[in-house]
Symmetry: C2
Subunit: 116 residues, 2 copies
C-alpha cells in the first residue's frame, strides 16, 4: 500500500519535519550524510565505502568523511572485512538505530498534522 500525497501534503510534511529537526537537533547532518545513514540502516548489509559511493553517485572520499563525522557522533561504526581485508564493512550502532527511530517518529507525528 503506497503513500498517497497531495502536493501540499508532500511539501508540508517536508517543511514541518525539517523545521522541527533544525530546532531540536544540534547535529545538523547534511543531506548526503542523512542519505548515507538511511541507506546503511534500511538496506540489508553488508555496506562498503565503494558500494555507498556508487549508490549515492558520489566519490569515495565523500563517504569516508561522512563515516568519520557520523562515527564521531556514534551513529555508525567501521570494521575491516576479514574475508577481504581491503574492504571495510560499515556497521550499525545502537545510538544510530535510536537516532533513526526518533527521526521516524518525528516524520510520523508531522504527517499526522498535515491537513488534507
Amino acid at each position: 500500500m503506497p503513500v498517497e500525497l497531495t502536493p501540499s501534503q508532500a511539501l508540508g510534511l517536508w517543511h514541518t519535519v525539517s523545521l522541527e529537526q533544525v530546532r531540536v537537533d544540534g547535529r545538523d547532518l547534511t543531506l548526503r550524510q542523512m542519505a548515507i545513514l538511511l541507506q546503511i540502516y534500511l538496506v540489508p548489509p553488508p555496506h562498503t565505502v565503494r558500494g555507498l559511493a556508487a549508490t549515492l553517485g558520489v566519490t569515495k572520499p565523500v563517504i569516508t568523511r561522512a563515516l568519520d563525522s557520523m562515527g564521531a557522533l556514534g551513529l555508525v561504526d567501521r570494521a575491516r572485512d576479514d574475508r577481504d581485508r581491503r574492504n571495510v564493512v560499515i556497521k550499525r550502532t545502537v545510538d544510530g538505530a535510536l537516532y533513526l527511530e526518533k527521526f521516524g517518529d518525528l516524520i510520523i507525528d508531522q504527517g499526522r498534522k498535515q491537513p488534507k
Copy 2:
C-alpha cells in the same frame, strides 16, 4: 485528512527522497536552507530575517547568509520594506517555485513507491 505512515514507510520515504535528491540535484541545500525555503513558500508572507530567525531558532546572520546563498541560486529575492525601511521582505521567485514544485513531485513519486 492526515498522512498516516508506518515507521518503515516514514524512514523509507525520507530515504528514497534524500537519495534521489543527492543523485540528481547538484545544489545540495543544507537542512537549514531547505527549512527556510519551505517556510518562505508555504507560509503566507511577509517574511523578514528576524521572523525567520525566530521561527527556525537560529541567529539572524544564519538567515542572512542563507538568503545570500539561495539568492545567488535564484531561489529567493530580497527587497527593502518601504513602510519600515529597516526591514527586508523576502520575496519568492519563479525559479524557487519551480524548484519546490519539482521537489514536491519527487516526494509524491517516492511516496507511491513505498511498500506497506
